[in-house]
């Protein structure tokens, strides 16, 4: 291994035994997506670069540590390391997030975490019974809520402002982005009106990428991974919408490919009521009214689509989300409220 990498690993060593416990050729590179040092184009523009991850194997080749290596300019890794480091101080969260430390020099930064064994929720979800799915979703969303609450105390600087967030104002830039990407003006106006009707919500730190691949089950508890964009989104229920949408898509991939999530959520489709109830239950836990929940749902599809467009991902990646945006606007046709259109059918949450 390059001496520089070894020195950084020793600097980030969690247990003081890294050089003794990790064999010289015990490094497994995973998700090798970008060069370190990064390639510089002629213009001097550093291409978006996710670096690579390393799984550090112990003397018996069992995974011991997980290490993310990124170019020095990557702000997300720095954010994630500081968030995880802070969360590690909370005894109740030690079983939820990995112990983590970071190190950097002038060229590369790394984040060393204990390896979290466990079975990804993504594996087990498709084969679960309906009841097990509902229960597990409630548990995971409860864990995410706890993390969010504790993080607000441990990292008060993450909350941009304590005042309620006006959904219409928060979504304005994203709607402009969608307009520039070719979404019709009447669609944007309907959504703008729908967001205005939903009013404001209190700011709450969100994981930002809470989906089944970032959730593990190990020794009787749920563990959360990938906090790179934690706290960037501060709209409550955003994680819930993201999680429920992805869970449902993984359980019913054919239905997800055939129709938009928003339209299915507002329909009599199998499991639609279950998803509506999951969202409303979490809204109630967060102290939100159903109308606010509907506003967040619109905000979620608009913001997620705009994020992908901003990142420069190919059109094929964000086109399905544009269809979600259009579906949300369709539900608002003729002055209808999103609340009535989506949650009007919901049975009373348990």
């Amino acid at each position: 291994m390059k001496r520089k990498l070894r020195e950084l690993l020793v600097a980030a060593d969690l247990d003081g035994d890294l050089t003794r416990e990790i064999r010289d050729d015990g490094f497994l590179i995973l998700e090798n997506y970008g060069a370190i040092p990064p390639a510089v184009r002629r213009s001097g523009y550093y291409v978006w670069n996710r670096g690579f991850n390393v799984l550090l194997l112990g003397r018996d080749d069992t995974p011991r540590y997980f290490c993310k290596c990124r170019p020095i300019a990557d702000a997300n890794l720095e954010r994630e390391t500081s968030v995880l480091h802070a969360l590690n101080h909370d005894p109740e969260l030690r079983s939820v997030v990995p112990r983590t430390r970071g190190a950097r020099d002038g060229e590369v930064q790394l984040q060393l975490s204990e390896f979290m064994p466990g079975r990804p929720y993504e594996y087990t979800l498709p084969g679960m019974t309906e009841r097990a799915w509902v229960e597990s979703m409630a548990q995971i969303l409860g864990v995410a809520r706890t993390v969010s609450t504790r993080a607000a105390h441990l990292l008060p600087g993450l909350l941009t402002e304590p005042a309620p967030v006006v959904l219409r104002v928060a979504a304005a830039d994203a709607l402009t982005e969608l307009g520039a990407a070719g979404v019709a003006e009447d669609v944007l106006q309907r959504l703008d009106r729908g967001l205005a009707r939903a009013g404001s919500v209190p700011p709450v730190l969100q994981h930002g990428d809470l989906w089944p691949a970032n959730v593990l089950w190990h020794e009787g508890s749920w563990r959360l991974l990938d906090f790179e964009i934690f706290g960037i989104v501060q709209i409550p229920l955003y994680d819930v919408c993201h999680f429920v949408r992805n869970c449902w898509s993984l359980r019913e991939p054919h239905a997800a490919a055939a129709a938009t999530w928003v339209a299915r959520l507002a329909s009599d489709a199998r499991d639609a009521d279950l998803c509506r109830r999951a969202i409303l239950r979490e809204a109630r836990n967060l102290g939100l009214e159903p109308a606010q929940a509907a506003g967040v749902l619109a905000y979620y599809v608009v913001d997620l689509t705009a994020q992908l467009i901003r990142r420069g991902t190919p059109r094929v990646a964000w086109d399905p989300l544009v269809r979600e945006v259009r579906a949300a606007a369709d539900l608002l046709h003729g002055g209808a409220t999103l609340h009535d259109a989506v949650f009007g059918r919901a049975s009373v949450p348990a």
Binding site: L30, A35, D61
Partner: protein, 303 residues
Amino acid sequence: MDAAGVMSSWSDEALAQLAATVRRGTPWRQALLEVAQPSRSGEGTEHRTEDARGNWLWLVDLERWECALDVQGGIGTTTAALSRHFASVHYLDAARPLVEFARARFREDRSANVACAQAGASALPYGPATFDCVVWDGALGRRVAGVATADPPAALPAVLAECRRVLRPGGCLYVGIATGAAPERVLGAGLILSALIRMVVGLIRVVPLWAWRRRATRRVRRFERLAVARAVPRQLRAAGFTRVQAYYIDPSFQQPWNIIPARRRAVLAYEGLQITSAGPRRWLAWLSLHPVLFDCHVFLAYA
């Protein structure tokens, strides 16, 4: 894009056209797009990931990071990666059009620390103990200039001996072998393994379903990769290398998303992380037959 994946199947005319295109002043990326067949090479993906192809260098244990050599540089992807880690890099290729292309590429990229020259891998025009690192990427995927036969077992010792000669003590040789690209044998399997494979392939030929027969033959032929895993380290040691580490690249050299130590438990740890990993893969790894699971084999050998 790299030498092993794309260029090995290019005709002399295509290479000449590539050189002519950059000679006219066309930017090298555009020249590649014009000459390559987009439907086959999928440049969109490859261009995004090609920069990551040099990250294996983080696994290399070197005292000095001064001078590196790419002995069969192709279109220069690996050379470009080396140029970000070493103070000075030498690019070599036996094909004149490729050298012309590489010169244009590094001139355009203003890579002042890269020098290009035309020479075959079996007679390197450098003195002994010149380099800290030597790379032979796409080894055996292309005919090696200067070796009378294209037979891989003949090319391997000739080139390895040359690589060892030009490496400084403590220097590292990288050998990348893509076994999937070769339609038949990459390296001669042992007598017993070869006989067994011939017998099973012979039995498969009895089956009337042609598509099934082709698929089954391909699967059985994969077991010849066991020979690569055994023969290359042996030849590296015979060439004078003292320490050899083997890795697999998954899924391909073009998209080197994962680099896995070629050891039973390390492969099992890797397979355990894969959502799509099927039972038979884990069984093969458990039985230490993991070389058959991967197309791309890499060897790091220290002088």
